[in-house]
């Protein structure tokens, strides 16, 4: 097994069960999405257990934002590895994702039992627009963190708008995504943006 990467963790190596318990708590107590998950991760890793420093946490947070897919999974893996090597990474990801995934499945199964009730259908007429609105708002906030400063921001927002328009006229999002990554590699890398939105902001 590779060595833990955190000096703080080497001083007080946690037991696997303690690690698993912390990540289980994160996976089952963070309601509402990424921001509450991030809050609990920092609370457990830095404040309560003191398994790493604030700076180490921020380093992994910045790295996780370069990963494909769900960034919180990448962050769990990075933080877990920092605390207890490969074993820590495995415990962190499993400890968070398995209970949270099972809760989501149970919620979905439970919803399936009541979805055709008139009251539930009426509620969905309200939750639908507000949830779609939140999805758009959170995505805008995500795009804002990726946009560079100064005049280059205009180019970056044009890419967002062009992609949105392409979404209406191009049948395959895959083509748009590959084009976006290529254009980015060729034209959008000249200024590396320092993350402006710290999870502790």
């Amino acid at each position: 097994m590779d060595r833990p990467l955190s000096a703080a963790a080497e001083r007080a190596a946690p037991r696997p069960l303690a690690l698993l318990r912390a990540w289980f708590a994160i996976g089952t107590q963070s309601v509402g999405g990424g921001s509450s998950t991030l809050f609990l991760m920092r609370l457990f890793m830095v404040e309560r257990r003191r398994w790493m420093t604030q700076r180490e946490f921020l380093e992994d947070w910045a790295l996780s934002r370069l990963s494909p897919g769900v960034h919180m999974v990448a962050l769990a893996g990075l933080l877990g590895r920092r605390v207890d090597g490969s074993r820590g990474a495995a415990l962190a990801v499993l400890g968070m994702m398995v209970p949270a995934g099972v809760i989501t499945m149970l919620l979905t199964a439970g919803y399936g039992l009541v979805r055709d009730e008139p009251l539930v259908r009426a509620a969905l007429a309200g939750t639908g627009p507000v949830t779609v609105g939140m999805t758009i708002g959170v995505t805008y906030a995500l795009a804002r963190t990726a946009v560079r400063r100064g005049r280059r921001a205009i180019i970056d927002w044009l890419v967002v708008v062009a992609s949105a328009v392409a979404g209406f006229v191009v049948s395959s999002p895959f083509v748009v995504i590959v084009a976006g990554a290529l254009i980015g590699a060729l034209l959008l890398g000249r200024e590396r943006k320092v993350p402006s939105e710290s999870p502790m902001a």
Binding site: T37, M105, P129, T131, A146, S163, G189
Partner: protein, 173 residues
Amino acid sequence: MDALELFWTFLQASFLSLGGQTALPLLRQQLVDAGVVTDRQIIEALTIGRLGTGPGGLYMVSLAYFALGWIGAFVALVAITLPPLTILPLATTLRHQLLSAPFAGAVRGLALCTSGLVVSTTAFLIVPGTADGVNSWWQAVLLVAGVALGIEGKRHPMLIIAVGAVAGVLLSR
């Protein structure tokens, strides 16, 4: 669509996204166009994802449940967990390259274009005149409020969804 195809669909969407929500355009194209799930189920999955615990990207597990039941949900859980973990070996072996301008540009390009695609995808979900579209003034108000609160990011999603549910019960006929 069988379990293996579903696994591949979610794995691919996850690999080509930055953050869980940006997988939505690819998932909608592959699942709705194939008749595996409906737009209504996408909206339902997004809502359940906000009400559940853990990362917001778990709406994909809910969506997979709609597509293929418990097997689909477990398959999707594995498929969306694997791609983010590629950062672990990359962070140690290619740390220098991860900080290079072309890579930073590719990540930025991916983030920007998938964000734009999410806007067009969500627009398809709420087209006025459709069964699940925004068909009344109060639904339009809820949509705009949802956008504003999503940008603000300070109110609890469960509270926002609860307000939407109450409004729906009181105002829909």
